[in-house]
């Protein structure tokens, strides 16, 4: 019988600390939701969270909940509930599974933290920099909870993020302060915003350093690790815990680098992942690649929570710049340049494009990009079909064959 190789992945010790901070974060939200002694803002994952923190809001991120629904594989069962009330199966499956979760009062927070339901919001805040779905998603909850919905409408797909765009976005963020004063009952305090920005910046720089360690051979961290360990960069940025956590993680990974310890045993192929993770298949994919001695070590996705432009001395403009410079907001021309840089920086042997059925915004393979990049760089690529949360969109066997055949191709052409 041909042998299935047992993959060896290394456990990251800092995970325990991350779990502790994440648990504290969710319990704090749950307590506030019950006691109503602190205001809660829901915010899109690359929305102006720093501004919300400066008003004293606890910030909850529905996309993070969406990812949890995906990773626990309950999303697929919940999506049909949203479909049945008119939310198409073709739109964001974070949105549909999250609404399905709300409709059935079924949240992974219960099993993970003993929390019965998601925290009740006082305000919903979106930024359309990533997609329109987030606005419609929040609009559903605004209707359900009868709370205000405010947001930033960012111009999408610019090649250059020019001053006109930045000024418009900065003004919109600043303009929200008026409503947030009213909702929070607190006056806007520029010093508080500066302090939050400084913490967010620190978090960003540390997270960036963590991810950049993957440039070493062997890489001490994989994309699959990254999707888990980016949690604090998404939900705790702007707080001290995020900074503390990434300092610990960074130290551990630097030690790995010093000892030449890789995220997988015997790394032979270095792979870039473009697009969303398939949350319900993280373990399976991580094992599959590790078994092929392929380390998926860099991605656009994990890098999406690096906001290098943050500058506490100019919070609104720098926030506008950082949240608009992001990969997902940009034109294909800008995205191509970005990926080409990543290929070089991380010595990439091959790219996997995940064409997520329900998220065109993160699937950068629909307008000819893979072929253009392949022709220019000579680095081969493959597109796999799937979805972030809707497992009905996935043919595991076909993806497996595609991935194995791709690694064989890289091997044969060496």
């Amino acid at each position: 019988m041909t042998q299935e190789i047992k993959p060896i992945r290394k456990k990251i010790e800092a995970t325990g600390l991350m779990n502790k901070y994440m648990a504290e974060y969710f319990h704090e939200l749950d307590d506030a939701s019950k006691s109503r002694d602190r205001k809660i803002a829901w915010c899109t994952s690359v929305g102006p969270a720093e501004l919300l923190h400066s008003f004293g809001f606890l910030v909850y991120y529905p996309e993070n909940h969406g990812a949890m629904l995906g990773a626990t594989r309950i999303a697929t069962d919940l999506i049909p509930y949203a479909n049945a009330i008119g939310y198409s199966p073709d739109i964001c499956s974070y949105l549909t599974s999250d609404i399905g979760s709300y409709l059935t009062n079924n949240t992974p927070l219960t099993k993970a933290y003993g929390i019965k339901s998601v925290p009740k919001p006082d305000v919903l805040v979106f930024n359309t920099n990533q997609c329109r779905d987030v606005q419609d998603w929040m609009a559903w909850y605004a209707y359900e909870f009868k709370v205000p919905l405010i947001g930033v409408n960012t111009p999408r797909t610019p090649t250059e993020v020019n001053d006109v765009i930045i000024e418009s976005v900065a003004k919109q963020i600043e303009g929200m302060a008026v409503e947030l004063e009213e909702i929070s009952g607190n006056k806007f305090d520029p010093n508080k915003l500066k302090a939050v920005m400084a913490l967010s910046k620190e978090c960003t720089e540390l997270w960036k350093e963590v991810l950049s360690l993957a440039a070493t051979k062997p890489s001490p961290i994989s994309f699959f690790d990254g999707t888990i360990h980016m949690g604090p960069a998404v939900v705790l940025r702007g707080t001290q815990h995020a900074v503390d956590y990434y300092e610990v993680l960074l130290t551990e990974l630097k030690e790995r680098v010093a000892n030449k310890v890789g995220a997988i045993e015997d790394e032979k192929y270095r792979i870039y992942w473009e697009g969303m993770p398939i949350w319900g298949r993280l373990r399976q994919h991580s094992d599959l690649f590790a078994g092929l001695n392929a380390c998926v070590l860099a991605s656009t996705y994990c890098n999406s929570w690096i906001f290098s432009d943050f500058d506490e001395s100019d919070p609104f403009t720098s926030m506008a710049k950082a949240y608009t410079e992001l990969f997902i907001v940009r034109s294909d021309a800008a995205k191509e340049e970005y990926i080409k840089k990543m290929i070089k920086a991380f010595s990439i042997d091959g790219i996997i494009y995940h064409d997520a059925k329900t998220c065109p915004n993160n699937s950068n393979c629909r307008y000819g990009m893979p072929r253009r990049i392949e022709t220019e760089t000579g680095v081969p690529s493959i597109t796999i079909n799937g979805d972030l949360n809707d497992l009905r969109m996935i043919s595991d066997e076909q993806n497996k064959t595609n991935i194995e055949a791709f690694i064989e191709q890289i091997e044969e052409n060496r």
């Binding site: 019988m1 041909t2 076909q398 064959t401 194995e404 055949a405 064989e408 044969e412």
Partner: protein, 265 residues
């Protein structure tokens, strides 16, 4: 005679597809000594054993003579006698390059999936694509249509080739296509024209998967039994298409060649 044969060194490749299992036996000079094709059924281990036994019998060889066997295809991990396995993508490429050592685009139409594989002049794979989740355009699509039309699989080619016209189908979806076909039958449209339209639909699904570069080669069970489909494709792309001698066997042959190479390494 038997003793002399027993000294031979032979290599085996088995391609366990979702629909058919194929086996090829080669000698160290890469000559095909025996082969077999049979239904995969639900027990892949059993069908690979039976398929190998038939191929060995055709080669007048004994299992003990096999130096190394490799498996490929959907059920490749179920082949108990294989020392190693490769994906069907790699094996088709290798098998095709064995017949035609040139730069080419291979179109493989299988039972449940289609592949387009590009190989350079040195036999290296440069690119490949498989059909997306859906089975439109695969052998499964043809089987479903035959079932709906009450036409035997072996009669498809003759019908399509004799058609005077063509009735094209509009839908991607196998189920909707079947409805469309039945509607045409109800309206008294000729069966042959419909069959040609069904072939056309298969070709269109395949051609939209990728661009074709260099020489085009077609393989797979559908091609093996339906030469008219190849002719229609040639007309559509306006270029001659190469078809290996045993188009259904290129995957199994490729696996056998990988087995041979593994010994040489």
């Amino acid at each position: 005679m038997r003793n002399k044969l027993a000294e031979r060194i032979i290599f085996a490749g088995v391609d366990v597809g979702a629909s058919r299992t194929k086996a090829a036996i080669i000698d160290s000079d890469k000559n095909i000594l025996g082969w077999n094709v049979r239904k995969s059924g639900t027990n892949f281990t059993l069908s690979s054993n039976l398929c190998l036994a038939e191929a060995l019998s055709m080669a007048h060889a004994d299992k003990s003579e096999i130096r190394i066997a490799y498996s490929t295809g959907y059920g490749r991990k179920n082949v108990t006698f294989a020392a190693g396995s490769r994906t069907e993508i790699g094996c088709h490429a290798k098998g095709c390059y064995h017949y035609f050592p040139i730069a080419m685009t291979i179109i493989d139409i299988g039972g449940q999936d289609n592949k387009i594989i590009k190989v350079d002049e040195n036999g290296k794979r440069t690119n490949f694509k498989m059909n997306r989740k859906c089975a439109a355009g695969t052998g499964a699509f043809l089987e479903e249509m035959c079932l709906r039309l009450d036409v035997g699989l072996e009669d498809m080619n003759g019908l399509a080739a004799d058609a005077e016209g063509i009735i094209k189908l509009g839908s991607y979806c196998t189920v909707f296509s079947a409805t469309e076909v039945l509607e045409n039958i109800r309206n008294g449209k000729p069966l042959a024209d419909l069959m040609k339209g069904i072939f056309y639909s298969v070709i269109k699904r395949v051609l939209e998967m990728d661009s074709l570069t260099d020489k085009v080669l077609m393989t797979g069970g559908v091609v093996a039994y339906n030469p008219y489909l190849v002719k229609m494709t040639e007309e559509l792309i306006q270029s001659e298409i190469l078809v290996p001698k045993l188009p259904q066997l290129t995957g199994a042959l490729g696996a056998a060649l990988f087995a041979l190479e593994s010994r040489q390494q």
